[in-house]
Symmetry: C2
């Protein structure tokens, strides 16, 4: 049986294999993704982001349990800042898989943030499409960090959850401002800690100061993920936001945004790859880099030259 | 006078103007950067990274004072995770500029992490080149976060400093593992806090477990940046690493790596821009995105089609 058919049937081993092909930038992956694409677009895609130590993994696990209780199947993509060499992502996978190992309704995949030729957002998008085509109803994307890359990853989601914790220090103010625009739901986790109300109030104030959203007012949900507190409310918030997206045709809009992002990521990757293939084969790439390093040519002119040779 | 000549003379207004042109992806910026490139390659480029709240800004300010005392000129690039709309980066600039406002030997530039068409690493690289050509002897690049993007930014540095603080929670372990390979110097800041020795020991252990570096053994420096403690030792560590780079020809190697990264970033940006210009002008880009969103075509095939039309 074709890998696409096996993925569509929810075959766990076929899914895992295709995801590895995606991460290795295999041409086989592209051909399978082409076949699966018509069957995507069904899942709720939820992004969960926040600073290190805010308890995202625990929140994700608790949300998964909540959705499973409601009978929904769940796919989890955990974007880990571990390097390939430590194998951290794989280890984390195994530990977390044990919890859900007897549940065929949950599929977990960890991704290292490094070593993705075509960009992390592209690989994440591809893996979302695999989970989507395999029939997972809710897809949770969990990312650590506050960088541009993480913002791009979260943009692939339909509902974005931004997690804070009380008392995280000075830089947190800046982070909140940076991701204010992308948040559909705010979570104050570890809400049994001192300062939880203050953090919630700060978020409220920042929302008032921001550009304002006329379509949706992001709720602020307090949780204690380790005790399962506030999880049901958070799940309800997600479903409310998804219903909101449907109501006014916003899902269509987000779908277009996601299509645009995926298209541009792919274009960037493929164009660069094809341009470099020639230059690498005949050794001019290394020569050019050597000349740039020695200030014999500037990189701006070198790139223009390569593009003109390619007729661009 | 040409902007390149004014930048080379260290004219603060010309530098600021060129940096704005770079951030706006102006063609004028490229032509100025071409002219400046032969005069780059002189500065010590130091990257400082670590999680939010670890005190990077204070460390950077203290290091600046230390280098100024030694008579070296300093350029600072602070990569802020604030969005353009909040103006956070600009505000931070102004506040920090006041400290050094009477010192012509210091130039500070904040950059938002969002909205860089050609990638944050490319913009950072370009701004490093401006500071370098303007004669700044030490360039400090300060980034928040642990994502791929931040790693790319830090890669443009010759000496990379990774900052931790005692007791930052569970995720920190993973982060340390992820950036272990890029660190030339570790700093445990806020070392007057409980757990500082434990954090230092953990770092030591992780280094032993890692792939190992035969060329350089990254020192672990304890600092209390707010009190200026450990700063002189850190500055010495930076100079020792720079001397090490010179000794065995490693500076040449890093220079080649930086040239390669800059070339590839530029190639990616320019190739995508040129490919999209045509598609945007005749409206096919929007049509294609619409068709992808409606599952009439898959994005993988759409990109292939565009590239084939361009003769790639």
């Amino acid at each position: 049986m074709e890998i696409t058919e096996r993925v569509r049937a929810g075959d766990v081993r076929a899914m895992a294999r295709l995801m590895s092909l995606i991460e290795n930038n295999s041409p086989e992956a592209t051909s399978a993704l082409k076949g699966l694409y018509p069957f995507t677009g069904q899942a709720f895609i939820v992004g969960i982001t926040g600073p290190p130590g805010c308890g995202k993994s625990t929140l994700t696990d608790q949300l998964t349990q909540e959705f499973r209780r409601e009978g929904r199947t769940v796919g989890i993509i955990a974007v880990d800042p571990t390097s390939p060499f430590t194998g951290g992502a794989i280890l984390a996978d195994r530990i977390r898989m044990q919890q859900h190992s007897l549940d065929a309704g949950v599929f977990i995949r960890s991704m290292a943030t490094r070593g993705h030729l075509g960009g992390l957002a592209k690989a994440t998008n591809d893996i979302v499409n695999v989970l989507d085509a395999a029939g997972k109803e809710v897809i949770l994307i969990e990312t650590v960090g506050v960088g541009q890359d993480e913002v791009e990853v979260v943009k692939t989601a339909q509902t974005s959850i931004v997690v804070s914790v009380p008392g995280l220090g000075d830089d947190i103010q800046a982070i909140k401002a940076g991701i204010l625009e992308i948040a559909d739901i705010f979570v104050v986790n570890k809400a049994d800690r001192e300062g939880a109300d203050k953090t919630a109030t700060e978020l409220q104030v920042m929302m008032t100061l921001g550009p304002g959203r006329t379509d949706w007012s992001p709720p602020i949900v307090k949780t204690v993920a380790t005790q399962g507190k506030g999880i049901a409310e958070l799940a309800k918030g997600i479903l409310a936001h998804q219903a909101h997206l449907d109501r006014a045709g916003f899902r269509e809009k987000r779908q277009r945004e996601r299509s645009r992002a995926l298209f541009l990521e792919l274009l960037q990757e493929q164009a660069t790859r094809r341009l470099l293939e020639g230059a690498m084969a005949n050794g001019t790439l290394e020569q050019t880099i050597e000349r740039i390093a020695h200030r014999e040519v500037d990189p701006y002119s070198a790139v223009e030259e390569l593009l003109e040779k390619a007729g661009l």
